[in-house]
């Protein structure tokens, strides 16, 4: 674990998590969620959890995002209020 990289990544993760839940555009929220998952995968690789990292990159950032966008394509893009 390299502490400066770890801190920087975690800082971005917190910012992105907050951005993902505050934005009104659901497509943007999903893309931010994907970025969140990808950065999380980076954190885990950097913490030496290599297998978890690349599973998260495949499932969290890849497949889940694809699912969400597929669902979004059949529903509404904008959040009300």
């Amino acid at each position: 674990m390299i502490i400066p990289i770890d801190l920087a990544l975690l800082f971005f993760i917190v910012v992105i998590a907050i951005a993902a839940i505050t934005t009104k555009d659901l497509l943007a929220a999903i893309v931010l969620l994907s970025a969140y998952s990808f950065l999380m995968a980076c954190v885990w690789v950097e913490m030496n959890a290599v297998d978890v990292g690349f599973t998260e990159a495949a499932i969290g950032a890849g497949v889940t995002t694809a699912f969400m966008i597929a669902a979004l394509s059949r529903t509404a893009r904008w959040e009300e209020k």
Binding site: D51, T55, A58, V63, A66, A70
Partner: protein, 164 residues
């Protein structure tokens, strides 16, 4: 936006289609490597997901109809079942049967496959890989079928919980 409007996508995304064509074989090879390339246990989940991701990339790039041509939805059920048979049936129940009820479920040592094929005598090496393939196929089929269900325009069927 919509994935089923294949025509629009085909007109627009030459770059994505070309890159997808280039990438998919390598992604699948990588998935297979993760699944059975290593000697240790584990990797079925991740390999299966990577394989599923390659199919999803195919659908995203070329549209749902092309995806259905490559992997019809009926196959998903078969793949799911066969994968799980490999995992629980061969890997598990055969252990119990081979050892006449002495060995435990999932105790791969009980299957004398390594002797028959003549691989290294490491613990459950060959059987482990077969089981990994089973898990991988199941996970791949489950994810692909969930994706098809989400994309499909007609009424959808709830899937999920097929992972173990």
């Amino acid at each position: 936006m919509s994935l089923s409007t294949e025509k629009r996508i085909q007109e627009r995304d030459v770059v994505i289609q070309t890159i997808a064509k280039l990438m998919i074989p390598f992604i699948q090879l990588f998935g297979l490597y993760v699944m059975i390339g290593t000697e240790g246990a584990g990797g079925g989940f991740q390999g299966g997901t990577v394989l599923a991701a390659s199919f999803i990339l195919l659908v995203v790039a070329f549209g749902i109809d092309k995806g259905r041509m490559k992997m019809p939805e009926g196959w998903n059920a078969v793949f799911k079942s066969l994968g799980l048979y490999l995992y629980a049936g061969v890997g598990g129940l055969l252990c119990i049967i081979f050892s006449l009820g002495k060995a435990e479920y999932l105790n791969y040592c009980a299957i004398p496959l390594a002797k028959i094929i003549g691989g290294p005598a490491t613990r459950g090496f060959w059987v482990g890989n077969i089981v990994e393939v089973g898990i991988g196929v199941t996970v791949m089929a489950a994810f692909v079928s969930i994706f098809y269900d989400l994309v499909r325009k007609e009424e959808s069927v709830e899937e999920g919980g097929a992972e173990e």
